[in-house]
Symmetry: C2
Subunit: 118 residues, 2 copies
DNA sequence: TTGGTATATGATCACATACTCATATACATG
DNA sequence: CATGTATATGAGTATGTGATCATATACCAA
């Protein structure tokens, strides 16, 4: 079969209908994905986790993660663009911090899911 | 400078030390990233969200997302490999469901973070 | 066994993304 | 203003990833 994009081959119409009406709004899907994606990369997760403990500058984060400052800077730009972190300048040093401290709870909650299953 | 992988250029040694001792274990970082990554893609997020409402088969999910059944199958394999979903066979039809229903709370909590910031 | 249906899987390709290097910028200090 | 420091940014590259197409598998029914 060339095109198996099924429109007619629905087995359980009621299930699909129910799922459709409970489905997330496309915009909400995008927002959620952006947020999860931010945490879905080891470097960014560690950066966010560190910043949720205390504000830090690029150089310190690079030392913590043992990667180049350029790499950290690029990741921070992403996080800034997503609206997850902001910075504060003090001379030539930029201190970064998360916009929303509740993000730490998202990490802890995810962590608790990893412990035991239901 | 050729190599800016800083080891000596640490500005705030105390901050780095504190961050190091509070840092997540590498294995935990990997687990968390896997989990977040699973939710960090529109297709998978919608699949998981749908399955958290009711068990569904590949064909129904394909209809819901309006993508090929092959694409859905590939995503489901990923989720299976990650241990996030399991299936139950009934004849030729495979019904998928999440291993842990608390995953819905992860989505809701993330959603609540999108509403207002602190 | 033969054919049909639902799904899985492998190869391939297009695109995203995370890093590196080189360079630019912003601020401080002389 | 010239220089140094901390960081930002752009281009290029290598790797990751999500889709497609073709094919394989598992089950069912005649």
């Amino acid at each position: 079969m060339q095109n198996d994009r099924c429109g007619s081959r629905i087995i359980h119409q009621e299930k699909v209908d129910l799922a459709r009406c409970r489905d997330l709004h496309p915009a909400r899907v995008e927002q959620l994905c952006q947020l999860f994606k931010a945490f879905g990369e080891p470097g960014r997760l560690r950066i966010l986790h560190a910043l949720l403990q205390q504000e830090m500058c690029v150089c310190d984060l690079a030392a913590l993660l043992d990667v180049s400052e350029s790499a950290v800077s690029h990741q921070l730009r992403l996080l800034r663009t997503m609206g997850l972190v902001v910075n504060r300048r003090e001379g030539t040093v930029l201190y970064y911090r998360p916009v929303d401290n509740r993000l730490i709870e998202l990490i802890s909650f995810a962590g608790s899911l990893l412990e035991g299953h239901r």
